[in-house]
């Protein structure tokens, strides 16, 4: 039994960290997020150059075939540095393109093209079985109507991948369509999220899809796998952010003085730091353990729910404690603290909140 990173994983993690420390400190990141586009294509190209966009793609599809621990090694520093670029969007889209052997995958892995997965339909479509959007058959073509929400990178993508039900298939089969964002009948409302990502709500009004653009008519297995990978990465990001919050808050508490002494000497503050450390340690242990289970091919639905549920819940505790400990300055836009908390909150809300997942744990008895 061993939950440590391999030397290669540790090197990968260190190199990602030092790249971000160099090029993506809080000030640099703030400028990027406040820019018109809201993210940096230059940074994105560098991320692609290191090979990180090929990481989630299997080797036989031309990717690096990264394991779950590999992904954790990368996503923890991404979370600690509040990456605004569309890494999670790519994690969702690239493996799906790989699963249907789509040639456009190469451009995605190179960072020259962006793909977005239009999956979510509002209020946390935590499970593929919640997908309601239907594709109507119209002769040789298909007609899409409905709305997809919180499509990560949905306003910037060169390629939209849309999950919908084929109306004449069995209810539990999901199809995957590929669409250009310029297609007739598509309205895209892009926005920034509280944690500095770009996303979009996308309305489909009688959008016609050619037969060839039905990439798969039974994507559910591949979709679930992609969602699990994205959940792992979201949680690793959050754990990275929690670690950052813990070290920043411990540092602040040991230097900020009130009543003539560092506030860390007040037991109420000290014990809150202790609770933050316990929460962080629990979350990170869960993350590493789940990554090891995934790598061994033994992660169950329950394991994924535990990871997502615990990370969201513990992350909120850590974020709220960090703000409270910082007091007034924690309430501002000016320190990383509030942004790290917002990243954790957003990651919690994406792909099923802690409420949803912890409840699922209760419903799924341990075998």
């Amino acid at each position: 039994m061993d939950f440590s990173f391999t030397d290669e994983q540790q090197m990968l993690r260190d190199s990602v960290s030092s790249f971000l420390q160099r090029s993506y400190d809080f000030d640099a990141r703030s400028k990027i997020v406040r820019s018109a586009e809201g993210w940096s294509r230059a940074i994105w190209e560098q991320i692609a150059e290191i090979g990180l966009l090929a990481l989630p793609v299997a080797e036989d599809a031309g990717g690096l075939g990264g394991t779950a621990p590999d992904l954790v090694a990368v996503a923890e520093p991404f979370g600690a540095h509040l990456l605004a670029e569309p890494f999670i969007a790519t994690l969702l889209a690239a493996p799906l393109l790989a699963s249907v052997e789509d040639e456009r995958l190469e451009g995605i892995m190179e960072g020259s093209k962006l793909a977005a997965l239009a999956y979510e339909e509002g209020h946390g479509t935590a499970d593929p079985s919640h997908i309601a959007m239907t594709a109507h058959r119209d002769g040789e073509r298909f007609m899409l109507d409905g709305e997809k929400r919180m499509v990560l990178a949905g306003g910037d993508a060169d390629l939209l991948l849309v999950v919908a039900r084929l109306e004449d298939r069995l209810e539990d089969r999901l199809a995957l369509f590929s669409l250009s964002p310029d297609s007739d009948g598509i309205t895209i409302k892009g926005y920034q999220t509280i944690d500095g990502r770009r996303a979009a709500n996308i309305r489909f009004s009688g959008v016609q899809v050619e037969k060839d653009d039905l990439l798969a008519n039974d994507i559910e297995d591949a979709l679930r796998k992609a969602l699990d990978t994205a959940i792992l990465a979201l949680c690793a990001e959050s754990v990275g952010a929690m670690g950052e919050l813990l070290s920043r808050t411990a540092e602040y508490a040991s230097t900020r003085k009130q009543f003539g002494v560092p506030i860390a000497t007040f037991q109420a503050v000290a014990h809150r730091l202790a609770d933050m450390k316990i929460a962080y340690t629990k979350a990170r242990a869960t993350l590493l353990y789940t990554a090891a289970l995934m790598e061994a091919g033994h992660a169950t639905e329950r394991d994924m729910a535990i990871l997502k549920g615990q990370t969201g819940k513990l992350g909120r505790e850590v974020g709220e404690a960090a703000i409270q400990t910082h007091g007034g300055v924690g309430m501002t836009d000016e320190l990383a603290v509030s942004h790290l908390h917002k990243r954790i909150l957003a990651n919690d809300a994406l792909l099923g909140s802690s409420e949803y997942h912890l409840r699922k744990v209760g419903n799924l008895s341990r075998s």
């Binding site: 979510e120 209020h123 109420a268 007091g327 309430m331 957003a346």
Partner: protein, 402 residues
Amino acid sequence: MEIDFSPELEAFRAEVCDFLDTAPTPEIREAGRKLTSVFAPFEQVMAWHKILYEKGWAAPSWPKEHGGTGWTVEQRYIFAEEYRRRDLPPLLPQSLGMVGPLLIDIGTEEQKAKYLPPILKGEDFWAQGYSEPNSGSDLASLSCRADKDGDDYIINGSKIWTTYAHHANRMFMLVRTDNTGKKQQGITFLLLDRVDYPGMTIRPIVGLDGFPEQCEVFFEDVRVPQSGRVGEENDGWTVAKHLLKHERGGGAQSPTLHRGIERIREAAKDTPSGFGTSLAEDPVFLRDLGELEADIASYEAFEKLGVSGHPMANDPSWPSMNKTMNSVLTQRISVMMTRVTGNEGLPLQHEALRVGANVEPLGSDLELVAMPYYLNSRATTIYAGSNEVQRDLIARTAGRGA
């Protein structure tokens, strides 16, 4: 024991409803619906303040001789309930709830005559200059200095977390007038007639919710008259402690919390639980709501004991208990709101939140406000004396009254 349930109260309620249904302008209503803080959008809330003043209802908690309403506790709660039920913006607390009551209690006759009427009428808005960058929880360590010079003080230093200073025309503040004794001594309470004295600079601070609600205020050789002093020189700590009592509690706050629950229940009807029903019918959600509602009901009982003058409320830590409970309940409500909105609360919608904006929100009203409200309300356990400071105070008399 006695609670008034007389039919006359229902007539009063009808009068209140009628007024609140007709008097506010559409902008005022919009400001209330888009509220994401305890501090309502300035322009609209001051307009509403003036309308309430015309009706005689701007300051229900003030003594009648200074323009209060003379209502019974029951009437005050009816007013607060109907007010909140309509999502009208709460009047800003700094003038009406803090410096006003303070002056009523211990101001000079001149100060009362000069300052109370424009506060009541909604003509003046006062900012509160207490905290400093190095004096937060340890407020008494403040160092912003006022040196006597003839009939004036010369102020140097800075204040921070000065809510709405960029909207204020007046300011009350604590300054250091003596450095020789204990830190609580040597503090003086000052009223500033203006916030645009030469040497005064106000810098708004953008909050984690994206809005500039707080400010930093810098003083460089700012000359103000000594006549603005409240109480004796170097006795400002006593004055401030007196005021804190007003700041930390004592209004009819529970209707605001109850209204939060109503909005949550309303929005839950249209929200899927993820487990086959709407949230409004989901047993888990209802249990959590029940737990919160019961706690709000206990807070209401606590508050009514206080307002009605129950002996328990003589406990010196009553205001601290009030502040602690209210802040935590506010945060719990805000969390529950974001639980309803889920990831629909993630988009930043600053433009749509502006009163008078012609931008359609991406989703429902609650989805528009829940996340900024949650983020903003993290401050409730920090401001007006952090909850840690309150617990220190409560612990000092923990065994008393039990």
